[in-house]
């Protein structure tokens, strides 16, 4: 293989695929990055077996081929180079990298050792508007389970029917559901790992000029996301996602409308006193007397008044402050509507005059 590529292009591509390399991979070969020539372009690939990320960049190709280079060395080397042309030449097992005034020789790994990662071919592609998908993912992905002990909950349930695409994520304590409009002929129902979506969000934010996200599904359960020249290939989680619709409370006895910023800062302040007490804070809802409070024997106690328009009898409800902070810091609305029924039933957070997004959070049962 013999190619020339611009440092800035290669640097950006390596930075992106580098995120996908796990620190302790299952196979030594996964510590490498695969660079190959495909259809006159350079394809840079990394994989951790679960997720494969590929970035296509333009390059001057003098001789086709593929090389497998230790990721860490390559990324560090390229980032230290000045902008301009980089030449990559493979000579038997060695890879020679030349740039202005720099010549490096790296030991290559056998390309065959690297898992074959062909994109699923011939699948129907779904083209979605990037901005709205990004918006939905931002509002939903954070509430998926972080650990993989319950694999289904570590994913985001995406379903599209009759022009509406719904994203739902829950870790069993809170649930976020966001609906966006899509083309009528889009049909979709899969659980996609939240990690993959986090990466999709990062890529989508970096690719400012791209308008679309393309999704295609293969018959063997692989989902491919394409944003511009970057592809993310991952397995969909196979299984029945819990029926989250049934846990969304149908009615409530009280509502309170808060200023988002004010409530967030009140929760943050109150949580100072909750550090030793499993982050439990108490939300007190009462006409003209709503507050957020917390206490623990070590840290003392604090009560922060918050302004709220309360309708109904109100009451006390205890929450893990982390869940409230997560939710409140992800929404962009100035105001937030909180609906509750007693201190033990899940409370619902909504955006005023917006039915497309809601969050259900399970309160903490506290003694006394």
């Amino acid at each position: 293989m013999k190619i020339s590529v611009l440092q800035e292009n290669l640097h950006k591509a390596l930075g992106r695929v580098g995120r996908n390399i796990s620190a302790k991979p299952q196979l030594p070969a996964l510590l490498n990055i695969l660079i190959e020539t495909i259809d006159g372009r350079l394809c840079i690939t990394s994989t951790n077996l679960d997720t494969t990320e590929r970035v296509f960049i333009g390059a001057k190709i003098e001789e086709e081929g593929a090389v497998c280079i230790p990721a860490r060395t390559l990324i560090d080397l390229v980032s230290s180079l000045k902008q301009g042309n980089i030449e990559i030449v493979s000579e038997k097992e060695k890879i020679i990298i030349k740039a202005s005034g720099v010549k490096a020789t790296l030991p290559g790994t056998l390309v065959d050792e690297f898992p074959k990662t062909a994109s699923p071919a011939g699948q129907k592609e779904i083209r979605l508007e990037k901005e709205s998908v990004l918006d939905a993912l931002n509002l939903v992905v954070f509430s998926a389970a972080g650990d993989t002990s319950r694999p289904l909950l570590s994913g985001v349930k995406v379903s599209a029917e009759e022009g509406l695409m719904t994203f739902a994520a829950t870790d069993g304590y809170r649930l976020c559901v966001k609906t966006i409009t899509v083309d009528k002929d889009v049909h979709f129902s899969n659980v996609i790992p939240a990690r993959v979506f986090s990466e999709v969000v990062k890529i989508a934010q970096e690719e400012k000029d791209e308008k679309d996200i393309v999704i295609s599904l293969s018959s063997d359960g692989q989902a491919l996301f394409r944003i511009g020249d970057t592809e993310l290939l991952s397995r969909a989680i196979d299984g029945e996602y819990p029926v989250y619709q049934k846990i969304i409370p149908k009615n409530h006895t009280s509502t309170a409308v808060f200023d988002t910023e004010e409530l967030l800062s009140a929760v943050r302040s109150a949580s100072i006193f909750a550090r030793d007490n499993a982050n439990i804070i108490k939300l007190h809802v009462e006409k003209n007397a709503s507050s957020v409070s917390s206490n623990s024997p070590q840290a003392g106690e604090g009560t922060i008044d918050v302004a709220a328009e309360v309708d109904g009898e109100g009451g006390d409800i205890a929450y893990n402050s982390r869940f409230l902070v997560d939710y409140l810091s992800h929404i962009s609305s100035d105001r937030v509507v909180f609906e509750m029924t007693g201190s033990l039933n899940p409370g619902v957070f909504r955006i005023p005059e917006d039915d497309s997004y809601l969050s259900v959070i399970m309160p903490v049962r506290v003694q006394g």
Binding site: Q26, D220, P249, V360
Partner: protein, 456 residues
């Protein structure tokens, strides 16, 4: 051949050939999906693993598999991700408490009021024996306090008095969450008065009962003969009615027959609607069996449910029997067949052998002949005048069977047995009934005769 076993053996051998890490990564999540005509299909969690193993270990896997199966196999590698299963109770507190959201609030209220949420009009089977009571109860549920007040149900055990009463309460709660409903047993009412007097909380007691929108007293006959209780009940009754509240009472007999019931109470009870609920007939019992089995999540074929209804007359016993069936079928996982029902009914001790096909007609003469042939006695002897025990006992069995199974009148039975007096027949039936519960031999004899009689 057991695929799992084979694959385990193969894996064990592979584990020896490669390093531990390699084995874990490459083969940890694999499975042997099929092995037919020398083609082994092996499943992998993702395409990357499949590719890796196919490239590197095809020959190794093949040789190990060939060695294990003693045939020349070719391998097919496919991607077969493990299907994830997540039960609601494992999904976290949001999901495990799901029913709290909709019906739960109502459930809580019902529990607090001691109203049984499962007793509703929907699962009450109606037939000629309880049609009137059902109509009255639904009318009262629609117009609390104005339709029939008080509503008085009486009847034997397990006829559905309490069920109807609770159904009214359930309907009211659904309409009005904060309805004031007071439900108690006659005896509880009594105890509460005693307690109120002892602890000097009569005011609270009065407030609780007299402010009720719906006052339901089960087995009201228990307050009869207790002077203070009757007096307090009288005032409560008047107060509730005056405020437009509804009173529903149940008893085992009509107010006129409750002894030691004060006249003023009796006249008030009789001022409303008094409805008699008779024991359920066969058709109604079949319907009850079906409703109860549905609630227990069992599917009982119609011949089996008829068999149950024919053998068990008490509704509570039916409920118990269905619980027993549920246990016998491993929580409903196994199918319920008529044979299973037959054997389960058969192990019920007292009802042992009261097995009958509800269809076949049997006459008194048939019984006479069957008993005669069972005990090896001529029918003429049974009809005759001899009263030796070896003859008298079978004669009583005839009386018992004719009475309990055929429902013949005492006179008819007496006539059948050579013109015996009806009191003799009563004595015979009673003797056998009592003896059946203790005498195993007699039970066997009776069930043996019944099998002969009703065997097809």
């Amino acid at each position: 051949m057991d695929l799992n076993k084979t694959w385990k053996a193969v894996l064990a051998e592979l584990e020896l050939s490669v390093s531990k890490a390699t084995f874990q990564t490459h083969f940890g999540q694999t499975s042997l999906i099929s092995l037919e005509n020398g083609v082994a299909t092996i499943g992998f969690p993702n395409p990357l693993m499949r590719g890796l193993v196919e490239n590197r270990y095809y020959s190794l896997v093949k040789s190990v598999l060939d060695h294990n199966t003693k045939q020349n196999t070719s391998l097919v590698f496919i991607v077969m991700p493990k299907k994830q299963v997540l039960l609601d109770r494992d999904a976290g507190p949001l999901f495990s408490q799901e029913n709290q959201n909709s019906g739960n609030q109502t459930l809580d209220i019902l529990r607090r009021l001691h109203v049984r949420p499962e007793s509703t009009f929907d699962n009450f089977a109606v037939s000629t024996t309880n049609q009137m009571a059902y109509a009255a109860a639904t009318a009262v549920a629609k117009n609390i306090g104005s339709a029939y007040n008080p509503l008085f149900f009486y009847g034997g055990v397990g006829v559905g008095k309490t069920h109807l009463m609770h159904a009214v309460a359930n309907t009211l709660i659904l309409k009005k969450h904060n309805a004031k409903i007071v439900y108690c047993m006659g005896e509880e009412f009594l105890n509460e008065i005693v307690e109120a007097i002892q602890t000097k909380t009569s005011a609270q007691f009065k407030k609780k009962y007299r402010s009720a929108e719906l006052l339901m007293v089960d087995d009201v006959q228990f307050i009869a003969g207790k002077q203070t209780a009757q007096e307090e009940f009288f005032h409560t009754f008047n107060a509730v009615l005056r405020e437009g509240g509804q009173v529903i009472l149940t008893s085992d007999r009509p107010p006129g027959e409750i002894s030691k019931l004060e006249d003023r109470l009796r006249s008030r009870f009789e001022g409303g609607l008094i409805v008699d609920i008779s024991p359920p007939n066969f058709e109604l019992r079949v319907a009850i069996v079906n409703i109860k089995s549905l609630a227990a999540g069992l599917t009982i074929p119609s011949d089996a449910s008829q068999m149950i209804a024919a053998n068990i007359t008490d509704t509570r016993a039916i409920e118990g029997f269905i619980k027993k069936l549920r246990a016998a079928t491993n929580d409903g996982k196994e199918a319920i067949t008529i044979d299973l029902v037959t054997t389960t009914v058969g192990t019920k001790g007292k009802t042992a052998g009261i097995i009958q096909k509800p269809t076949k007609r049997v006459s008194g003469t048939d019984v006479l002949e069957a008993v005669g042939s069972y005990f090896d006695i001529k029918t003429a002897t049974l009809k005759g005048t001899k009263r030796d025990r070896p003859i008298a006992r079978p004669r009583q069995v005839v009386m018992y069977l004719c009475k309990t199974e055929l429902g013949l009148t005492l006179e008819d039975i007496g006539g059948l047995l050579g013109g015996r007096d009806h009191t003799t027949v009563i004595h015979g039936v009673d003797t056998i009934t009592t003896e059946l519960s203790t005498n195993q031999q007699l039970r066997e004899a009776v069930s043996g005769i019944k099998i002969r009689l009703w065997a097809q």
